[in-house]
C-alpha cells in the first residue's frame, strides 16, 4: 500500500534531478579525475610498454606485431638470463642486509642519545642525496687505481696491490650491492624507527618486571608490534632494489662485458642505446611477474591482518 501511494509523485521529478540524486552516477563523477590520471599516466604507458614488447619496433621505424618472438629470442639469450640472475642476487642480498642493518640502526637510534635529533637527521643523508651523485662518489671510491679503500688496506699492510673493484664480475657485483645497501639503510632505519616510536614503553617495563631478557623483549614485544611496518618497508625495499638502475648504470654501464647487468639496465641498453625498442620493452615487461610476486608475498605473507584486528594469529 505504501509503495502504491508514492507512485504518482515519481513522474513529476525531472530526469536531471533524478540523475543528480543517483549515488552511483555521482560516485563515478567524483572518481573521474583520479581515474583519468591513473589511466593516462599509469595504464597507458604500461599498456604501451607491453604492446611494444610484442612488436619489432626500432628507433625511427614503426614496428609490426611479431607475437612472442622477442620473448623467444630473449629465452635463448645468455645475457638476459645473466641479468635475471644478477637481479635476483642483487635484490635478495641487498634487501636482507639492508633490513638487518636498518633494524639494528633503528634500535640504536630509538634510545636516548645525546644529539638525538641531529644524529637522526644526518643518518638520512645517503637517502636524501640524488643516487647519481652518490653513485659517482662510489665510482671514485671503487676506482681501480686510486681507490681510498685499497690505499688504506695497503697502508695497513693487509694487501699488496690495489683491488680491482669494478673490473672483475664478482667484485663488481659485491661493490654495487654494497653501494645499494649503503644507500638503502637510512630509508629502512628511519621508517622502522617511526614504527618503534609507536610501541609503548610500558610494555617493556612490564616485561622487565616479569624478568624478560633483552632478547625476549625484542622477540615478543618489538618484533610482533613492528610486523606491519616491516611488511611495508620490505615491500618498498624489494621493489626499489629490483628496479634499480642508476647505481649500476653510473658505475659500470652493466659492468665488465655485460656481466653485472640488471634487468632494468639491460632493458635500457637494448632499447635506448641499442635502438631495439621492442626487445627492451620485452625485457622490462618480463620484470612485471617477479614484481607482482614480490608484492603478493609481502602483502599476504608478511602483513598478518587477522592478528592486527585482534583475531588469532596462526
Amino acid at each position: 500500500m505504501v509503495a502504491v501511494s508514492r507512485q504518482p509523485e515519481a513522474p513529476s521529478i525531472g530526469l536531471l534531478a533524478r540523475l543528480h540524486n543517483n549515488r552511483n552516477l555521482l560516485g563515478a563523477l567524483f572518481m573521474l579525475p583520479a581515474a583519468s590520471i591513473l589511466l593516462v599516466f599509469l595504464t597507458y604507458p604500461l599498456g604501451l610498454g607491453i604492446w611494444l614488447g610484442l612488436t619489432d619496433v626500432k628507433v625511427g621505424r614503426p614496428g609490426i606485431f611479431v607475437g612472442l618472438e622477442n620473448y623467444i629470442w630473449l629465452f635463448r639469450d645468455q645475457v638476459f638470463w645473466l641479468s635475471v640472475f644478477n637481479t635476483f642476487l642483487y635484490t635478495t642480498v641487498a634487501s636482507i642486509v639492508k633490513f638487518a642493518l636498518g633494524l639494528w640502526l633503528a634500535l640504536l637510534l630509538n634510545r636516548h642519545l645525546p644529539f638525538k635529533a641531529f644524529i637522526r637527521a644526518i643518518v638520512l643523508l645517503p637517502f636524501i642525496v640524488p643516487t647519481v651523485l652518490s653513485a659517482l662518489a662510489f665510482w671514485w671510491i671503487y676506482d681501480s687505481q686510486d681507490s681510498v679503500i685499497s690505499w688504506i688496506l695497503i697502508e695497513a699492510g693487509l694487501i699488496d696491490k690495489t683491488i680491482d673493484f669494478l673490473g672483475q664480475p664478482n667484485n663488481a657485483r659485491a661493490s654495487v650491492i654494497a653501494a645499494n645497501i649503503w644507500r638503502g639503510i637510512p630509508f629502512v632505519a628511519i621508517t622502522l624507527l617511526a614504527g618503534l616510536q609507536t610501541i609503548p614503553a610500558s610494555l617493556y617495563e612490564a616485561a622487565t618486571i616479569d624478568g624478560a631478557t633483552e632478547w625476549q623483549r625484542f622477540r615478543h614485544i618489538t618484533f610482533p608490534l613492528l610486523t606491519p611496518i616491516i611488511a611495508v618497508v620490505m615491500t618498498f625495499s624489494v621493489l626499489f632494489t629490483f628496479t634499480d638502475f642508476q647505481l649500476i648504470w653510473v658505475m659500470t654501464r652493466g659492468g665488465p662485458i655485460n656481466a653485472i647487468h640488471l634487468m632494468a639496465t639491460l632493458s635500457y641498453q637494448r632499447a635506448i642505446v641499442g635502438g631495439a625498442l621492442g626487445e627492451g620493452a620485452a625485457i622490462a615487461t618480463a620484470m612485471i611477474p617477479f614484481l607482482l610476486g614480490a608484492i603478493l608475498f609481502s602483502y599476504f605473507g608478511l602483513q598478518r591482518r587477522r592478528w592486527q584486528q585482534g583475531g588469532r594469529d596462526d
Binding site: L105, R111, F138, D146, E155, W182, E205, T208
Partner: protein, 71 residues
C-alpha cells in the same frame, strides 16, 4: 625542589629504564656500533668533500695516511 633537581628528575624520567644500564655496557652496545654506522654512512660524503679541494696531481698522491685529511 630546586630547578636543578627538577631538571635531573625530568632527565631521569625521559630515560625510562635507562638507569638500569651501566655506562660501560652502553658504550659497547650503543655508542660503538652507532659510531661505526655513522662513519660508514658519512665517509663517502667526507671523501667527496676532501677530493673536491684537491688538484689533479694531488688526486693520485697517496703517501702515508696524510691524503685522508690534507687537501
Amino acid at each position: 625542589m630546586t630547578d636543578a633537581a627538577a631538571r635531573r628528575a625530568g632527565a631521569a624520567d625521559q630515560g625510562g629504564m635507562g638507569y638500569l644500564e651501566s655506562l660501560p655496557r652502553k658504550v659497547v652496545v650503543v655508542y660503538i656500533p652507532l659510531a661505526i654506522f655513522l662513519f660508514v654512512l658519512l665517509f663517502p660524503f667526507y671523501w667527496m668533500t676532501v677530493t673536491s679541494f684537491k688538484s689533479n696531481e694531488e688526486l693520485h698522491a697517496y703517501r702515508g695516511l696524510d691524503a685522508l685529511w690534507i687537501f
